[in-house]
Symmetry: C2
Subunit: 84 residues, 2 copies
Amino acid sequence: MTKVNVFVTLRESVLDPQGVAVKDALHSMGYAEVSDVRIGKFLELTIDESERDLDTAVREMCEKLLANTVIEDYRYEIKEEERA
Amino acid sequence: MTKVNVFVTLRESVLDPQGVAVKDALHSMGYAEVSDVRIGKFLELTIDESERDLDTAVREMCEKLLANTVIEDYRYEIKEEERA
């Protein structure tokens, strides 16, 4: 059993209206020092052992389903294997 | 200028229907080894220098706006300061 953390973020060049809304809300709450907010997704996958290569499988999942690679970037970290 | 990464995740005890939907989609794509998916938010804050303590400010922002602490947990990491 392995835990994989996937981070999906909007590409730098893509506008992030949700991030702008949160930044504006923080400003109106008095946190004027916040100059930028970008919001992405954070996915925690639990993956059982299989004959497939983990790294390849995770990359495929990101490309095919988890990220929209036209507007999003992704990165992932494979955590220490855990014995069930 | 400091970058702060905030991770907001649903508490363990709270159902995550979006995660279940993604898990089911991965299964139907042939990735049967994925046993669990939990989906959270990942926020990248850029914070200018201020007289406020950064750690306290970030914790306040999480408690008041970024996370709903009734159903969500949060953690954050303060990245190396960057000279503008």
